[in-house]
Symmetry: C2
Subunit: 306 residues, 2 copies
């Protein structure tokens, strides 16, 4: 089917056409470009919710519980699970989507795992494009689930309108990781598995860390959930609503959407540079040998490719 | 001091000059270029050993034990601890270098934590340059310690001559992570904390996974250590020697060094693109607004920046 046909189907809410359109965008720059040109001017309506955290913190469970809560309001919701694929194997860190299967037969829910390979500009460019498709398809909310490790995942999480950072009680190294990369991007913090020992300590530590940070008028709340039994999930949804209201009232909503487009454009430019390097691979190899043999230095080699 | 003066000092083994030279390389492209031009033609002699694994697996302890073993042979060794700094805070995942302090007064050991910020091309470009400096300074071995999470860290680990992947018994999610990104880059696998339950099971699982993989003439061994008491570390060093002998005999040594230079050159080209985008930030902002308002699409915007 043509890209235009798929877009028409996607806008009519056809799940299969949405899925095909996303595959086309992931597969090839030409189809992605055609789709983006067709969707240019389509005003954003969906609220983009990021769910991130270290492995084992309960991201899929929380996402699933949020989907249930959003559906209970009668809203439509899409989930993008961003897999940081290995550059070596094509394997993925994430995988267990089993919990999401309870939503598989619900026409108001769309679930998609995303790969990082293939597309010009990688996930940083693909994710905003896929969000645009889902937005055009009329979803009220788009949840992006990412593993909160690695710079590219943090960057993707940072493009959400509302970022939820999950922490498990007493996670040690994971909290360290969260401190470093994730603390700054969280709009809402959720201590999941709050029935475990140390939950209140973790909540307190997070509140102290947040109090030390700088805030642009929104002070991130720290909530507790036991997502596996749905406990506390309504409060998370209420915090998302409150954050959205603040975003729109403060003008931050447009600022965040601008930043998302900014990142997308830069990712496309860098993707084009990478594609060029790939095309000129033999030339890079020859220059590498010259550098290794001491004939030139790496900067001179890089300049010859610019 | 001039870059040339620092290079002379570094080649004479002056620790302070080595440290200053690395700082200059991290800080600014001009000094890095001058240093690389001066060092072009300096033949590589140091063996580059990667040590990677998930947080908590014992990377610093193992690195420290390897340093002790290498020093016992009378060889000089440098350690680069690569911190995947947060793009938001400048904070770092790693931090605890305390165990390394026993080597602090040893002139035959050089230890350095590296940051990812500032430098044109990021860690992917800086790491090979710093290795070149340490090589020129006469170190027999350079150990690069990285957290084995995130694509950029995997890429850096992949640039070592011999990559050691650490696994702890029964680490669950971490083993999953290892499977995805790290399994393919390991030349030597080490199950550390082997006095814990499940060590033999983990060894068996790893051997099975490795047996399923493709090998280019080197079959990665799986060893057991208790690095905190030095147990098994000599066997790891022996495996590194054996791997190095194989690398040189098979021609893989030059192939790996070529790949390292190749990656460095590409990182510099991409870094130059990023620098250009940064200079043209206002222009990218204007184009972002045009995309958000539907006047143009992101691809057209990206083309106007090429």
């Amino acid at each position: 089917m043509s890209v235009a046909g798929l877009i028409a189907g996607a806008r009519a809410g056809e799940q299969r056409d949405i899925a095909r359109l996303i595959s086309r965008i992931e597969d090839g720059a030409n189809d992605a470009r055609e789709a983006m040109q067709a969707l240019a001017g389509f005003a954003g309506r969906a609220h983009v919710i990021g769910v991130t955290g270290a492995p084992g913190v309960g991201k899929s469970t929380t996402t699933s519980a949020l989907v249930t809560a959003i559906r209970a309001r009668g809203n439509r919701v899409a989930v993008l699970a961003v897999d940081p694929s290995s550059p070596f194997s094509g394997g993925a860190l994430l995988g267990d989507r089993i919990r999401m299967q309870q939503h598989a037969t619900d026409e108001g829910v769309f679930i998609r795992s995303m790969a990082s390979r293939g597309h010009l500009g990688g996930l940083a460019a693909t994710t905003p494009q896929v969000i645009r498709v889902l937005d055009a398809a009329g979803f009220d909310a788009v949840i992006i689930e990412t593993v909160g490790v690695g710079q590219s995942e943090v960057e993707i999480a940072a493009t959400a309108d509302s970022s939820i950072v999950l922490i498990a009680p007493g996670m040690g190294d994971s909290i360290q990781a969260a401190k470093a990369g994730i603390l700054e991007i969280g709009d809402i913090f959720v201590v999941n598995k709050a029935d475990r020992d140390g939950a209140d300590t973790t909540v307190r530590e997070l509140r102290n860390m947040i109090a030390l940070g700088q805030h642009d008028g929104w002070r991130p709340p720290v909530l507790k959930t036991v997502a596996s039994i749905g406990e506390g999930v309504d409060a998370v949804l209420a915090a998302i609503d409150e954050h959205r209201t603040w975003l729109i009232g403060s003008g931050q909503d447009r600022r965040r959407k601008l930043r998302r487009v900014h990142d997308e454009i830069c990712a496309l430019v860098i993707g084009a540079t990478r594609a060029q390097l790939s095309v000129r691979n033999a030339e890079v190899d020859a220059l590498s040998a010259a550098v290794l043999d001491g004939a030139i230095d790496a900067y001179t080699a890089a300049e010859q490719l610019s």
